[in-house]
Amino acid sequence: MKLITAVIKPFKLDEVREALSEIGVQGITVTEVKGFGRQKGHTELYRGAEYVVDFLPKVKLEVATPDALVERALEAIEKAARTGKIGDGKIFVYSLDEVIRIRTGETGESAI
């Protein structure tokens, strides 16, 4: 089992969610985050004062997948979130030790 964490452009969230649903991913967790990478920030001007905004808004999503689905899930996210411009984000993959469904107590891949 793997935990996939992706940081993407906020307006790409719906496309990524659809792409993941299509390959059979059952659930994702989404957080609104801020950060910077190579894209860097931008400047805002209020009357005479100029401010550099370092941290840009992004969306972070977390998906737990069985091993069989990992490759296709990564491909789906990568394809759906790509614009080709700087700032498209990153995907991180972690190995996942255990999953427990709280309601039933199921564990392992059947709990995903």
């Binding site: 001007l45 209020y46 009357r47 401010y51 905004v53």
Partner: protein
């Protein structure tokens, strides 16, 4: 420190007590008259009507004779009752100016500060407004709008003594009166918004008690004398020949005597407050992190809502300053409309060209700058003059919050000087230019000939306006300097670094605006 805070609270309490005492003292002062009225009405009701007419005739004849024999003894004829339309308009205008402060200015300023300080600014504007309204009726009106010296009025109307529902207030037209009490209320809102405007200069770092004490001192020694110097006169009714014109003028305020034109408060309100705010920004010092940390406005929609309330309220401010409802009121109205639009366009296009993007904050600020610019001119210039004044004011204020601000090096947090000071000065000077009849203006009204004066010199008037501007700048700066120093000694101007970082909402008022 605790003791000093208690002192301020005690002063507030004393003020409340003085308030309680004032109606009593007024009641005492009026009681003989009331008693006399009651007696006469009880005794002489029956034959009063019959006698009254005969008496009036006799009185009138006697007055005529007295006037003929001795022209100096001016028998004051009883003024005609106020016109209901004028009175209604002035009440509405007063209400509009109230709306400019609460909530207009409060929201305009509130949106411009960081989220941790929004309540402190709303609170400062509302409380200063309330405080000044009270001080105005206690002693402000008397010191500003009664005769005395050319620099300050007297105490004849302390606690509004003698100002009743029947008191007549002069306008700018002979034989036209409004209830004096309505004029008192109208002017109260001007004094209050002027003091509230200053808050923008030192927002986000000042002690609440310091704001209140400073406002009371500055109102008394800064606002009142300038209002008296620029606006006080006895009204046009006594003027019939050059001699009476001279005597009426001699009894007026110093800058009025000089012929300074300020229709609705370019000097009295905007330059005055702008300078006081700038001096405050210098003396209180920059906000922690100024120039390094982001201090972007926390809610521009709030700022636009506030700006629009100011915008709409300004029609009461400017057109109301004609004190009656007639054609000149209409002129002031359309000039206000046009200048605000031109200010917005000038700032937006100026910003678009120089910075690459026209911002919403710029548009709102431009409209305010245009409104400030037209304020001293609104009843004197024509609509085409208003276009130029609006455009120049918008561009000047754009420079005021940018190039000039960097030049001055003060952290005038919400640009009181950059917008109100700069556009106020531009407007006061351009009034001299566009009041000229040759440029579509109304010129100067000659109350002897009862028509606009034929000769108008732009140069002469420009010099008079310049003097009025300089007097206001110097006087306001001087009073502000002393007032801030005094407040600093007594209670201290600035909150602690820790409180400033935490935000004034929590540190000074124990509440926060938004729960996330």
């Amino acid at each position: 420190m605790k003791m000093l805070q208690n002192l301020i609270r005690a002063l507030g309490l004393m003020l409340c007590l003085a308030l309680l005492a004032s109606p009593m003292s007024q009641a005492l002062a009026q009681s003989p008259a009331v008693a006399a009225k009651a007696e006469s009405s009880a005794d002489a009701k029956a034959d009063a009507k019959a006698d009254a007419k005969a008496e009036e005739k006799a009185d009138a004849k006697a007055e005529d004779k007295a006037q003929a024999s001795d022209p100096k003894a001016e028998a004051a004829p009883t003024p005609p009752p106020p016109n209901k339309g004028d009175t209604a308009w002035m009440l509405v205008a007063t209400l509009l100016v109230v709306m400019m402060s609460v909530p207009g200015l409060a929201l305009f300023y509130g949106g411009l500060v960081r989220a941790k300080n929004v309540l402190s600014v709303l609170m400062q504007v509302s409380t200063v407004f309330s405080l000044i309204v009270v001080l105005w009726v206690i002693y402000g009106y008397s010191l500003a709008f009664t005769g005395g010296s050319p620099f300050i009025g007297g105490l004849d109307k302390l606690f509004l003594a003698g100002v009743t529902a029947d008191s007549a207030g002069a306008t700018f037209s002979k034989g036209v009166y409004i209830p004096e009490i309505v004029f008192v209320a109208f002017q109260a809102t001007f004094a209050a918004i002027t003091c509230a405007l200053i808050v923008g200069g030192f927002a986000e770092r000042v002690k609440f008690a310091a704001v209140l004490l400073f406002s009371a001192i500055w109102f008394t020694f800064g606002y009142i004398p300038i209002a008296h110097m620029v606006w006080f006169w006895d009204g046009p009714d006594a003027i019939s020949d050059p001699k009476t014109l001279e005597s009426v003028t001699a009894a007026a305020g110093w800058l009025w005597q000089k012929g300074a034109l300020d229709f609705a408060g370019g000097t009295v309100v905007h330059i005055n407050a702008g300078v006081a705010g700038l001096v405050g920004a210098y003396l209180i010092g920059k906000r922690i992190g100024f120039g390094k940390e982001a201090m972007a406005p926390h809610s521009l929609p709030l700022t636009l809502v506030g700006a629009c309330l100011l915008w709409v309220g300004w029609f009461g401010f400017n057109a109301g300053s004609n004190l009656e409802a007639n054609g000149v009121t209409g002129i002031a109205f359309i000039n206000t409309l046009v200048a605000a639009a031109c200010g917005l366009l000038a700032w937006s296009f100026g910003e678009w060209m120089s910075k690459g993007e026209p911002s919403m904050l710029g548009a709102a600020s431009g409209a305010i700058a245009g409104l400030v610019g037209i304020t001293p001119a609104c009843g004197f210039v024509g609509p085409m003059g208003a276009i130029v004044i609006g455009l120049v004011s918008g561009l000047a204020a754009l420079w005021g919050v940018g190039g000039l601000k960097r030049l001055l090096g003060a952290d005038d947090s919400l640009d009181v000087f950059g917008v109100h000071g700069v556009a106020g000065i531009v407007g006061a000077l351009l009034t001299a230019v566009f009041a000229a009849p040759s440029l579509g203006g109304a010129g100067i009204f000659d109350y002897v000939a009862n028509t606009a004066s034929a000769d108008y010199s732009i140069g002469t008037q420009l010099w008079i306006q310049t003097q009025a501007v300089l007097v206001t700048v110097v006087w306001s700066a001087l009073v502000s300097l002393i007032a801030y120093k005094l407040v600093d000694l007594v209670i201290g101007l600035r909150v602690s670094d820790e409180q400033e970082r935490e935000g004034l909402d929590v540190a000074s008022h124990g509440e926060s605006a938004y729960r996330l």
